[in-house]
Symmetry: C2
Subunit: 467 residues, 2 copies
């Protein structure tokens, strides 16, 4: 998941041409979807896909050797799952590499600290006193120059929630903390991991340095290590050594990998579902975002197994390098901009593998009925209709910002930030039954959207936000 | 906790001179113990002690710089807690050091593996195919020479239990697996951690190489990494690289640290309670065994705060280097052998910080009544009397083997092997209320044993086992 998707609340405004005819889903389609739903719940494809990706490729940092392996894996998997068309589209981005990372408390209480570099951090070795801040606002309120020669330490503890809402704080510290620290004179940046676990696994994730600033080594501490620093600070000044070997290293071209189940009567119109293929390097990218790849590949596969394909094409997207800046999503939006109205609606799965509990679309009035019909078909899966709520997933958000209609299938993320961006993001954390429920939901949604009579309002916005 | 304390079932045989007079605890002592119990439940000393040790010293591998700091810390803490006498006794042992450790899957599924060297492992770098065994028996049953040039991988998954009983299997793999592997020709040894968690933290612990064998690099994998290897092996042969930099490095002299609350009428007779001061280096040694140090120091302190001291002396022992071979316990037994009958009874806390649920002593018939009386005083803490069960704790076991009477205060170890010997053994894993219950139990037990009229049967055995 990218930095702050939950903050996005893109309202797709009702297009000026809003059809007088209401978008509706035929009864026969609803009957097929009910069968598809039950079939998906009993199917193992989703599990098999995520098992395959996380085992055979494992961690797949954008730009690493495993990135290329993941692209080849996705092409082969789409083909093996019977997709009618499989292709790749190039995505170019700067490559960041992690080589080593170490930290320790110095002095009378000398002891090692477990840290991980934030993505985008430069390399560097420093030894300095740390200055603790309870949150980002406290750091931003520090007097100019007050951190000269020191290490800023932001010690905010995220709380868990079904919707992961406290990531707005944890994620903001990661993205904005280093620049704020530099502005106060700091020579390095440390943060309590943006996480909700209590294990010795630090949470990484991309950070950015504001233009005009000289980047400083920036890392996160595990939550027990942050606790330890906070306790040591109660006893007096604490000096810390931090040694990061990491940094930007040229450009790399990866690929979005795309598979399609061809529609029977409107094959050039597509319903897009997907996830991102890259992961951070510390775990094996099971919940972020092997699960999303598996859920949407399996949903497409199951739709492809139906006796009769839906009217429109099901396009499953495996996006490149979401983690470091939505590169795959942006590339897709740019490449397919002219075809935006051919995109019936899109949804991305990128919030783990917990059960889906809510559904909505950003559709305008003329397609409200169809949204309600899909919600009704999802209800037996324990999914409630949540009108007025939701947003586009990270990698479809650049295209949604241009005007593509989006759907929101909200996963239970109560334990998501226990695992997000850390070494514990491994296959064993996925519940196969919850994964199957996700597959069922995506299959039902995608099938019904593809079989709808009428559209969900995708239309190029005149003055679209560029994210 | 040492390798296999649960296997120990030392029966202190009834001494030939078994007193005709029954050992009993006076009613006034029982009344005082009831007050002590309630006071201990409301007291924060235990928490403060473990917070201090794990924060100020942190990890304290035997022989490391932190070992000396821990000894100084314990002396200062005993004094601060009002112990009447505080002293140290030297304990010498070979020093083992861990410098670095790395492992990776090679080939088409190349990816890093998270491992930790087993204590006692030599350094070494190997690249070879792994051969998986479901358990130690399977490895031992492999044909001679069948592992020539290969890495043995024992993939046994421990299950959790209140009494930690499956450690008999997990621990035996760690202690005997490397030698068994060498006998089959293996050039390195890997094992699934002897643990019950599902995090990317590997469990270390001491291993031994049988005489006449040339030691090979030996390490444990985290449980998710072991899962990963098992899945990869289902796809075909797996080559792994393992690079350990660690090994034995001369001798080191640490110290047992001892604090006493002097008895009022039989000051030379002692009730001993304690834990071990050393820890593994990966965590901060909170449950293994900061908790045991804290529980017994706090219990001694609370007894010392009573208006009237018990008849006998309370001796609290902070043992040196338990982890690598009970060095502190053996040194104590050797040094104090002539005084064994002055040791009323002993108990060690070294199974975490879970609530105590059962109590027993190894006392002979003439002291059965006193055991029952103590059990009755412990009952309000939710502790049941468990006649016929239990054994001496690890560091008192060498002395118990010589004939010292022992008591058993059984802790709930359901989550112990989630944390044991790994990086997650940190302060946040301790429940302050459970810790206070432990302090209350040790205070009640030690006070009543020290105030008993009569003994619990300590007597030098003619042909004592030497452990």
């Amino acid at each position: 998941m990218r930095l702050a998707p939950l903050l996005l609340a893109l309202a797709v405004t009702a297009p000026a041409f809003a059809a007088s005819r209401e978008t509706r889903i035929p009864d026969t389609s609803l009957a097929t979807a009910a069968q598809l739903r039950e079939q998906a719940l009993a199917d193992r494809t989703g599990w098999n896909v995520v098992e395959s990706l996380t085992t055979e490729v494992g961690p797949r940092l954008a730009g690493s050797e495993a990135d290329a392996k993941a692209v080849a894996w996705a092409q082969a998997k789409f083909k093996a799952l019977g997709f009618d068309k499989v292709w790749i589209e190039p995505v170019t981005f700067p490559k960041w590499v992690r080589r080593s990372e170490r930290a320790a408390v110095l002095g009378g209480h000398a002891q090692p600290l477990t840290v991980t570099a934030l993505g985008g951090s430069p390399k560097g070795t420093v030894e300095a006193e740390i200055v603790r801040f309870a949150d980002l606002a406290a750091l931003e309120a520090a007097p100019a120059g007050s951190l000269a020669g020191k290490i800023a330490f932001v010690d905010y503890q995220m709380t868990s929630a079904r919707d992961g809402s406290d990531y707005r704080n944890g994620g903001a510290i990661r993205s904005k903390g280093p620049s704020a620290a530099i502005r106060k004179g700091a020579i390095a940046f440390l943060m309590r991991s943006a996480g909700t676990d209590n294990h010795r696994v630090a949470h990484t994730g991309i950070t950015r340095f504001d233009e005009g600033l000289t980047p400083v080594p920036s890392a996160s501490l595990t939550i027990p290590d942050a606790d330890q620093l906070a306790r040591l600070l109660q006893r007096g000044p604490v000096r810390v050594s931090l040694a990061l070997d990491c940094g930007w290293d040229g450009e790399y071209t990866s690929h979005n990998v795309i598979g399609e189940i061809t529609g029977r009567s409107l094959p050039k119109e597509v319903v897009v579902i997907g996830g991102h293929l890259d992961s951070w390097d510390l775990g094996t990218g099971a919940i972020d975002d092997g699960a999303g790849i598996a859920i949407t590949m399996a949903a497409g596969h199951l739709i492809g197994q139906l006796k009769q394909a839906p009217k429109r094409t099901i396009r499953v997207l495996a996006f490149a390098n979401e983690e470091q800046g939505l590169y795959g999503g942006k590339a897709y939006a740019e490449k397919h901009l002219a075809d935006i109205t051919r995109h019936q609606i899109g949804a991305e799965s990128d919030f783990g593998a917990g059960r889906i509990y809510a559904f909505n679309t950003g559709a305008p009035d003329h397609a409200r009925k169809a949204t309600e019909q899909i919600a009704q078909a999802l209800a037996p899966l324990g999914i409630e209709y949540a009108p007025g709520k939701g947003s586009a997933g990270p990698d479809i958000s650049p295209f949604a910002a241009k005007g593509m209609a989006w759907a929101w299938l909200a996963q239970d993320g109560s334990d998501y930030f226990d695992l997000h961006h850390n070494a514990d993001d491994t296959l064993d954390k996925i519940d196969p039954a919850a994964l199957a429920q996700n597959v069922a939901a995506y299959a039902v949604f995608a099938y019904l959207a593809a079989d709808a009579e009428g559209d969900f309002g995708s239309q190029l916005k005149e003055t679209a936000a560029t994210e």
